[in-house]
């Protein structure tokens, strides 16, 4: 039963993926059926098709992966329910990006949120999973409220809920209302995307779900918010906005990127770490889109297209490598039944395939050539650097600073994934779980392998990806830049011109391979045939044990100390000494927490206010049936008075 459902989901993914691919080429499809007041209209324009493709690509991999992964849940949960919710989740996301009507969109959006909620609480017997689910449900509905507000304002001027009417309203919105649409959309969709400070639900909800669902949520679901933002700003509002909109998006992007990676560094549960990295990568995407919006407001259309292109390229890249990494984390969970990185170690030798795939994912997310993360981060850098064409000095200066923030983010991500891979997969096993881990089933390996190949493919073949994305940015900004960006017959990328900057990912790959071969040759030339000797690592005279290895906590200690202003760490060290002498400790206890700044100073006060109001209102609920009947009667009388 479970397998057949997953299989259907898998086939479904393939079909959708193909549909997305084909449709993104020539034209837009439009089909609709109408019921009074709301029409279920569907439209597949390049922007929608691109996201359908992203969803399907990851959805397909997740379906294959699920074949193996759901065996974990045999006998504990209904696999049928999990499988059908999984398929429903994919379908609802596809509907979100294809909807051509405000109502239709909201229904799909809500469906997506609710199904993902049910998927998050799959393991509802655990208290922390229930908490994560509740937190997610509340946050997502706050977001939905703002989304509804966005559409209501748009409806006011358009007089209809169809997207076509949003695009060409009867009377245009006044400036103030447009700003309100901007902010409402940013808050509404930003909650789903996980921008700082609306990200707080994300590190709870994403890790709580089963791993292939986490991959879909982190890799794909949060991208529907990016889709919606582009749809509203560039499509509905026609790309007409003041520069500060773009600047706000840029600042939010920079802050999300930096704080996302910083909190990720302190996280020692692999899946929570990955969830924080989603915040970071949404930040990077928004850096590109924000830069694009700033350029758009100054009429620099080619640069606007470049910023959008960079953001969208990173969108698909992040979907691929984040899903891959979540699959990797899921495989570790599957093999060891523990989430904490401190209990892994030495897994590369126990699980060679998972290890290699995870390493490819780690290299990609760190933005190292020749993988896909490098290309899109490079494009974001370029769109930030080209800011010197903006007439305003303030922005000329702010965009390079955003580039510096991106540089810091990139290298902190590198440190974070060096930690994640190094502590989990290298050196000695840190626990008996890790010592007895077995390689995961073939289906899971295929799912990961597929995405790992995509990571490298998207990295060395920008000449295929760029023209596809150009089909989206072309209509939105009014200029096609594909032929400009691709120089030397597509072998190099040169956003402004060859003279300002260029990069050739295929050439870099050739150089790296060539250099490696040269290294091997030189080693052979000077050293002859390789004869090695294996011996244990020098442990200063004692036999090396896993307890002597660097831990994840230890690894990030210098970073924690340097950035202590951000982390506000509290460290508690209790030592119990032997009675005979204070030189010998009987036992030590070490605790360390970082301050959840946003929850403590932003969310807790708001929650307190609502709890306070609820407390006051409690007197209404006296438990007496007569009183309740009286309430109903009074309400009825008041309503009748109003109605008359």
């Amino acid at each position: 039963m479970a397998h057949s459902l997953s299989c259907v989901a898998g086939l479904f993914g393939i079909a959708l993926g193909l549909a997305g691919l084909v449709a993104s080429e020539p034209l837009t499809l439009s089909a609709g059926s109408s019921i009074p007041y709301l029409s279920f209209a569907i439209r597949l324009d390049p922007l929608a098709a691109f996201f359908v493709l992203t969803i399907s690509l990851v959805g397909l991999a997740a379906s294959i992966y699920a074949f193996g992964y759901v065996t974990e849940f045999y006998g504990r949960h209904s696999i049928g329910a999990l499988g059908s919710l999984f398929s429903g989740f994919l379908l609802s996301m596809t509907l979100v990006v294809m909807a051509d009507n405000g109502f239709c969109f909201l229904i799909a959006w809500e469906l997506m949120s609710l199904i993902s909620y049910f998927l998050v609480v799959t393991e509802h017997e655990k208290a922390n999973v229930r908490y994560a689910g509740f937190f997610y449900l509340v946050m997502t509905h706050i977001g939905t409220a703002f989304v509804v507000l966005t559409y209501l304002i748009l409806f006011q001027s358009a007089g209809s809920f169809s997207f076509e009417a949003f695009r060409h309203p009867e009377q245009s919105l006044p400036e103030g209302m447009r700003a309100l649409v901007f902010l409402a959309a940013l808050i509404g969709f930003g909650t789903k995307a996980g921008i700082v400070p609306l990200h707080v639900w994300l590190p709870y909800a994403h890790p709580a779900a089963p791993s292939h669902i986490s991959a879909l949520m982190s890799g794909v679901m949060i991208k529907t918010a990016i889709y919606a933002l582009i749809r509203v700003y560039f499509d509905f509002l026609g790309g007409q906005f003041p520069w500060w909109w773009g600047f706000v998006v840029l600042v939010i992007g920079a802050v999300s990127a930096l704080l996302g990676v910083m909190y990720a560094l302190m996280e020692h549960e692999l899946k929570s770490l990955l969830a924080f990295h989603s915040v970071e990568n949404i930040g990077i995407i928004l850096l590109g889109i924000g830069a694009g919006m700033i350029f758009q407001s100054y009429g620099l259309k080619e640069l606007a297209a470049l910023g959008l292109l960079a953001g969208l390229y990173h969108t698909i890249n992040h979907a691929v490598f984040k899903a891959l990494l979540f699959f990797g984390a899921g495989s570790l969970l599957y093999a060891t039944h523990t989430r904490s990185m401190e209990e892994y170690g030495g897994l590369l030798r126990r699980m060679p395939w998972t290890g290699v795939f995870f390493l490819i994912g780690a290299v990609s997310i760190s933005g190292l050539p020749p993988t896909n993360g490098f290309v899109s981060e490079w494009l974001v850098f370029q769109s930030l650097f080209l800011s010197f064409q903006i007439p305003a000095v303030f922005l000329k200066l702010m965009l390079p600073i955003a580039a510096a923030v991106l540089a810091l983010t990139g290298v902190l991500a590198l440190a974070c994934f060096a930690k994640a891979f190094g502590i989990s997969f290298l050196a000695l096993a840190r626990s008996s779980h890790a010592r007895h881990a077995e390689e995961v089933p073939i289906a899971m390996r295929i799912g990961m392998g597929f995405l790992a190949v995509s990571c490298v493919g998207l990295g060395v073949a920008p000449m295929i990806v760029v023209p596809l994305i150009d089909r989206i940015t072309g209509p939105l900004t009014g200029v096609s830049i594909s032929s400009k960006v691709l120089a030397l017959d597509g072998w190099a990328l040169a956003p402004a011109n060859m003279e300002f900057s260029s990069v050739s990912p295929p050439m870099l790959a050739v150089m790296l391979i060539g250099g490696g071969l040269l290294g091997l040759f030189l080693a052979f030339l000077f050293g002859g045939r390789l004869l090695t000797r294996s011996y244990k690592t020098w442990g200063c005279g004692i036999t090396l044990s896993p307890r002597m290895e660097y831990t994840a906590t230890g690894f990030v200690q210098p970073i924690k100390r340097v950035f202590s202003t951000i982390y506000q760490p509290t460290v508690k060290l209790e030592t119990e000494f032997l009675e005979e002498s204070r030189y010998f400790a009987k036992q030590r206890r070490f605790e360390f927490h970082i301050e959840p700044v946003f929850e403590k100073y932003l969310y807790d006060p708001i929650v307190d206010v609502f709890v306070g109001i609820a407390d006051r209102l409690r007197i209404l609920q006296a438990g007496s049936l007569h009183l309740y009947l009286a309430y109903i009667f009074v309400t009825l009388v008041i309503l009748l008075l109003f109605a008359s």
Binding site: G346, L348, G367, L518, S534
Partner: protein
């Protein structure tokens, strides 16, 4: 076919120059330091002999390590060499200029950093982890400064591709009347270079004291040909940064035309320039003590602010 052959031979020439020059730079710095310490010091060509010997030695591989440990020296070697090919050395007509700009250079070097950190963790020794952990923080703080400082220069030259910057500067195109942005960027980049190549006052390549070492701690378990490749790569990285500084800030004399004569002169001038810089580094190493790890952040913070000021000055001077 003619341009292709020319390009390939230029690339080959650059590879050979970089590989041959790098051990010399290491030897030269050691010699300068020895002289300051009133020692005669080893011959400047000693690092070549060291490398040859290391290549012939049988490597010992830790039983607790994985393939990452043995692959890292090759990955480090190739990524550093690839970065070196993006930097102009004796000619500004670098054929691989199109393959990447300064961002690509930074990320190529980051590949090496990433795998070295992994290799440090892979042996299971606490020393390796210590080195990796420290390398991670030093690298995090250097890269933003590096990107900003190069950007300040890139604005003046109208390019982020290194060879184009150097070529234009050498031909005196797009030079600002006031050199202050350049000077600030130079100071920032010099600090960055010291940090990236593991030099005093950030790291000390001559120490094996666990309290202070960073790079040496990561590579502590390496031996034989693996160590040789790592040492060579460290030299290469030094050569990359010295070439970068020498040619971006003082490109004069570099071959700007693809004629043998211009390139010959370019090569001689290049060797003089980077040797001068190596002597400067050696001198600095004798003048300063190594900083405590948590004071390094202040120094790198200074580099970042300098680069930012350079950028600010550029815009103020232009407007």
């Amino acid at each position: 076919m003619q341009p292709l052959i020319q390009a390939v031979s230029l690339v080959a020439a650059q590879v050979i120059v970089l590989l041959v020059v790098s051990p010399f730079l290491v030897g030269l710095i050691r010699k300068v330091k020895a002289r300051f310490q009133c020692r005669r010091g080893a011959n400047v060509f000693q690092p070549y002999a060291d490398l040859a010997k290391l290549f012939r030695k049988q490597p010992v591989i830790s039983t607790s390590s994985s393939w990452v440990f043995t692959a890292t020296p090759y990955i480090l070697f190739t990524s550093t060499l690839a970065a070196g090919l993006l930097v102009p050395t004796f000619t500004s007509q670098t054929p691989l200029n199109f393959a990447g700009n300064i961002i690509a250079l930074v990320y190529l070097l980051a590949i090496g950093t990433f795998f070295l950190i992994l290799a440090g963790l892979d042996t299971g020794s606490a020393f390796g982890g210590m080195g990796s952990s420290r390398e991670a923080i030093v690298a995090s703080l250097t890269e933003p400064a590096m990107i900003l400082s190069i950007f300040a220069i890139a604005l003046t030259a109208g390019s982020t591709n290194l060879s184009t910057i150097v070529h234009k500067t050498a031909l005196l195109e797009g030079i600002v009347t006031d050199p202050s942005p350049y000077l600030m960027a130079l100071a920032a980049l010099f600090i960055v270079a010291l940090a990236e190549t593991g030099r005093v006052p950030i790291d000390n390549p001559a120490t094996h004291l666990e309290l202070t070492m960073i790079h040496e701690a990561m590579v502590l378990e390496y031996s034989g040909r693996y160590l040789a490749l790592i040492e060579w790569s460290a030299g290469l990285k030094l050569a990359v940064f010295l070439s970068l500084i020498a040619n971006v800030f003082a490109p004069w004399g570099i071959g700007t035309t693809p004629t043998p004569a211009a390139m010959g002169i370019g090569l001689v001038v290049y060797l003089v320039k980077i040797s001068g810089l190596a002597v400067l580094i050696g001198t600095l190493e004798c003048m300063f003590a190594k900083l405590r790890l948590f004071r390094v952040t202040d120094l790198l913070g200074v580099a970042f602010i300098l680069a930012l000021l350079g950028l600010l000055f550029f815009y103020i001077l232009r407007s």
